[in-house]
């Protein structure tokens, strides 16, 4: 295969001479990573730095009767042994609620458990020592006396009267509940030609970032400043939280984020052990480092997707969907995670189910309950994989029920491409989507008719292949509607500062962060294009709250669409400022000039007039030669936040082609396709790689990944040998295609692309498995992950 992108370049109205918009330029910062010269937080070492290890509760729920620390304190290299009660004097607890999720409640959570541990793995004592190994040695000498309490583990019985209430002050185990009813649902079901009803189960799984969560906190009492090196997606959010809970001002806190070894939504939350590390640094007046090991990651990184959904679809013989109904139940652990809460995923399931279709009748109920397992919260594509699997699972079951081809069934129900703007049954506002064009593109890209013929031919040879689809919508570019309106200090706007240096080079300081998705490349492309220089003249600085504009960071597929627009506008503003200088120097009207490839030119003729190095030299060192009263401004800042729409929805459709071995239950993935529409494509290669990576995370959910717990709340597979993740050999090649419907909310028109793959992949793998097994009389599989034993059971073989 050639090393080129596999998508045609997408030209936009933004094309300026030498524009980088729509070009697959390599990321400018990759060599340090390929050469092992990255700076991950786990690599950071500071003078006087100590390391912390935590004693963690072996019980899912237990009262902490006593903690004996004397022996640990005498262990070699130990600097301090600190309990939750002691650390509570340094840092205040937090409660993960948002006011716009009405009724959502949670209990105060402390950096280290005080009096009670509420899940297996919750930290109950910290040991700080010269090295991590010495800290772990001493952890073994900490004697904790527990009184085991009954563990609430099954969401189904969490609300029963006889079930113990985890937080007595809350009154019950209900964290959040939402009900929605639109149209005439009962009437629609009653009048339908057919109704399909089933229950979907989603395995609790987690992000398994290759670099575990890592933090180095450095409280310097002589400066009264806290510097935190953290692998995080949202440095400004963390700055606020560290300050708030240590009773500091935000300007006393600096959060630095360089390379992050994978995040996917895992690293955008408040973790008790990270907060404890920061508090320990304040307490001990020296740098403290915490790097989670793999088992700590499994029992404390947020989990996601543990949902049980009873679902129902009504359909007429002509294929028209008449109604959707869902009842979602999810257990989110003992606390709603701070500050984004653990109600968002269920809320998203309610919002998104049925989203691609015109069906006006919709009833949904979601209940979010507390339990004594690790916490759940937002992980890549939040709620989408669930809503899409429920919707698309129902769609293909309904199509099969009335004997209609699944693509034809979708053609009859997807919102028409000329129907926008419009609002979904759940109330989502769509600016411009392209379901039908995407479906047509997919149909031809995968040669659907040819694959059906091949499937039929092979079926005669007892080779059982399946084709499955999933149409989807994805929330991107969130406005303040996501968190800000609920009272969380999580900004939805973002900023970029662009500067011309004294040699004519450009630097960009941006509030979004690089998690490996290529944000820095996108920012450089935007500014190089709107200002008018080649990319090698542009340097990008992110991940430093002291030195970047206040911004939200990276989450909800916002970095390119929001951070990119701010950078684009800042580049334009700086071009204006530079041309004002050039106009003064050349005694020409600035509007008759442009900057192209780093040179000031006549806009009409393109004749070169002035190099940026010369312009910068005059502006910085000989401003006395400029006209009286003229002040050069070679730095410009712009901010952007979506205002016209709460979210920029994207859409797309995926397909999976696979083979099921009906003797072993193993699934062999043969090929995967995704056509998606993220508006203006700034870098086709980066978009495709976001799709591919996302698809494989979705495949993991469909086939492998599940955090297994026993009824006592003990996680049974907290290691990478037992918790299976997708590896290269099981994964298919993934073809990507695009439709482009820019958002008019920004000049760039870019929407997000980070989560579409994960949103749709589980559904279409599920549908493909069921397509393969349907002629064999297997009951439809709706309980993810689809492990070989479940497939054999569906076939009646075990």
């Amino acid at each position: 295969m050639k090393i080129t992108d596999d998508s045609p370049p997408v030209l936009s109205a933004l094309d300026r001479p030498n524009s980088y918009i729509g070009r697959s330029v390599p990321r400018p910062n990759l060599q340090r990573l390929t050469q092992g010269r990255g700076q991950y937080v786990s690599d950071v070492t500071l003078p006087r730095m100590a390391q912390v290890a935590f004693v963690r509760s072996p019980h899912a729920h237990a009262r902490i009767v006593n903690i004996a620390t004397d022996a640990a304190k005498k262990s070699p290299g130990v600097i301090a042994v600190v309990t939750g009660a002691e650390l509570a004097k340094v840092m205040t607890p937090w409660v993960g609620v948002l006011t716009h999720l009405k009724g959502l409640k949670s209990a105060p959570q402390y950096p280290i458990a005080v009096e009670r541990a509420c899940w297996q793995g919750e930290a109950v004592c910290a040991v700080v020592a010269r090295t991590r190994a010495l800290a772990e040695d001493a952890c073994e000498l900490v004697e904790v006396a527990y009184e085991a309490l009954p563990a609430v583990t099954d969401p189904e019985s969490a609300l029963d009267a006889k079930t113990p209430v985890i937080h007595a002050a809350l009154g019950d185990n209900l964290c959040f509940e939402r009900k929605l009813e639109v149209g005439a649902v009962d009437k629609a079901f009653a009048e339908s030609d057919a109704v399909v009803e089933t229950t979907f189960m989603f395995g609790r799984h987690t992000g398994v970032t290759n670099e575990p969560r890592s933090i180095v906190a450095d409280w310097n009492p002589s400066e009264q400043r806290l510097t935190v090196y953290q692998g995080t997606q949202a440095p400004h959010m963390m700055q606020n939280l560290f300050a708030k809970h240590l009773a500091l001002e935000e300007h006393q806190v600096r959060v630095l984020t360089k390379d992050v070894g994978g995040s996917f939504g895992i690293k955008v939350h408040t973790y008790a052990d990270e907060m404890a590390t920061v508090a320990l640094s304040k307490l001990l007046k020296r740098p403290v480092k915490f790097v989670a090991d793999r088992i700590e990651s499994f029992v404390t990184d947020i989990h996601a997707r543990d949902h049980r959904i009873k679902a129902k679809i009504g359909v007429n013989k002509d294929g028209a969907i008449t109604a959707f109904e869902i009842d979602d139940l999810t257990g989110i652990g003992p606390y709603s995670v701070y500050p984004r809460t653990s109600g968002i995923e269920a809320n998203q399931v309610v919002n998104l189910t049925g989203g691609p279709y015109t069906c006006p009748n919709y009833r949904a109920q979601a209940r979010v309950v507390f339990q004594n397992k690790n916490v759940m919260c937002q992980y890549r594509a939040v709620g989408h994989p669930i809503a899409v699997a429920v919707t698309e699972g129902l769609v293909e079951l309904a199509a099969a029920k009335i004997g209609m081809d699944p693509l034809e069934f979708r053609r009859r129900n997807l919102i028409a491409d000329d129907a926008y703007p419009c609002t979904s049954a759940a109330g989502l506002k769509f600016e411009k989507l392209s379901h039908h064009e995407s479906l047509a593109h997919l149909d031809s890209m995968m040669n659907y008719a040819g694959l059906r013929a091949e499937q039929k031919k092979l079926r005669a040879q007892s080779i059982h292949r399946g084709i499955g689809f999933a149409s989807f919508i994805e929330v991107t570019n969130p406005s303040a509607a996501f968190y800000g309106v609920g009272g969380a200090r999580i900004t939805s706007q973002d900023g970029a500062t662009v500067k011309l240096d004294a040699q004519g080079m450009i630097s960009i300081h941006s509030g979004v962060t690089e998690q490996g998705q290529g944000a820095e490349a996108v920012l450089a492309q935007c500014v190089a294009s709107s200002f008018g220089v080649s990319m090698d003249k542009v340097r990008v600085i992110t991940g430093d709250t002291d030195n970047t504009p206040y911004g939200g960071g990276t989450w909800a597929s916002r970095a390119a669409g929001i951070g990119g627009e701010a950078a684009w506008q800042a580049g334009k503003a700086l071009r204006g400022n530079v041309l004002a200088v050039a106009g003064a120097m050349l005694q020409t009207k600035p509007e008759d000039l442009d900057i192209r490839n780093g040179i000031v030119v006549d806009k009409i003729s393109g004749t070169e007039r002035l190099g940026l190095d010369e312009l910068a030299r005059v502006a910085y060192f000989r401003p006395d030669t400029l006209p009286p009263g003229f002040q050069a401004e070679l730095m410009a800042t712009r901010h952007y936040v979506p205002r016209a729409w709460p979210f920029a929805f994207t859409n797309g459709i995926q397909a999976s082609y696979l083979e099921v071995d009906v003797d072993t239950g193993f699934v062999k993935l043969l090929k995967h396709w995704c056509v998606e529409d993220c508006g203006t494509i700034i870098n086709p290669q980066l978009v495709d790689e976001q799709i591919r990576g996302g698809v494989v995370q979705g495949i993991g959910a469909a086939l492998f990944e599940q955090c297994l717990y026993d009824e006592r709340g003990q996680m049974l597979n907290g290691n990478m040998a037992d918790y299976l993740v997708p590896m290269a050999v099981e994964m298919p090649d993934i073809d990507c295609g695009h439709v482009v419907s820019p958002t008019a909310d920004s000049e760039l028109g870019a929407k997000g692309a980070g989560e579409a793959g994960t949103a749709g992949a589980p559904a279409c793998v599920m549908n493909a498995i069921n397509d393969a097994l349907r002629p064999l009389g297997a009951a439809p599989l709706t309980d993810m992950p689809f492990t070989p034993d479940k497939i054999l059971r569906a076939l009646g073989k075990v």
Binding site: M1, I3, G36, T209, R692, G693, M720
Partner: protein
Amino acid sequence: MSDLALDITLTVNGETVHERVEARKTLVDFLRDDLSLTGSHVGCEHGVCGACTVRVNGEIVRGCLMLAVQCDGATVETIEGLSDSGEVADLQLAFEQRNALQCGYCTPGMVAAAQDLLLQAKQSGGVPSRDEIREHLSGNYCRCTGYHAIVDAVEAVAVARAGGTK
């Protein structure tokens, strides 16, 4: 406990190293903590993820499954050495051009594993198929890319090293 320490002498990236190490210390912790070679990463510490893959006496090993004291007298090569010598420059360039890495945490191990395959392929005189590339890299976990781009990059280098284009 940490009572037992031993003196070892080994060659790391061409440099002779004499160190006293705790018997319990893994090779990757030794490389990172004692020699400041932070290019080798720690992902799972139980031999599954491959982020700590380094070369010992010409064979790729998991730095988390080997003790530093086992490397007494050995020749160890990490991503820093492979980079500085230029041995994997074409692989690194292909990874960069094809965006075969996102967060980059798996990349040093992935490059070492890919180079191992390509050295084997050179001996046998063949170009590995995509399936063979996937098989050989199946002990190296990448959460970001979905592997497709990595397979593309390794395949392109395999073809180029065999003197061809594809």
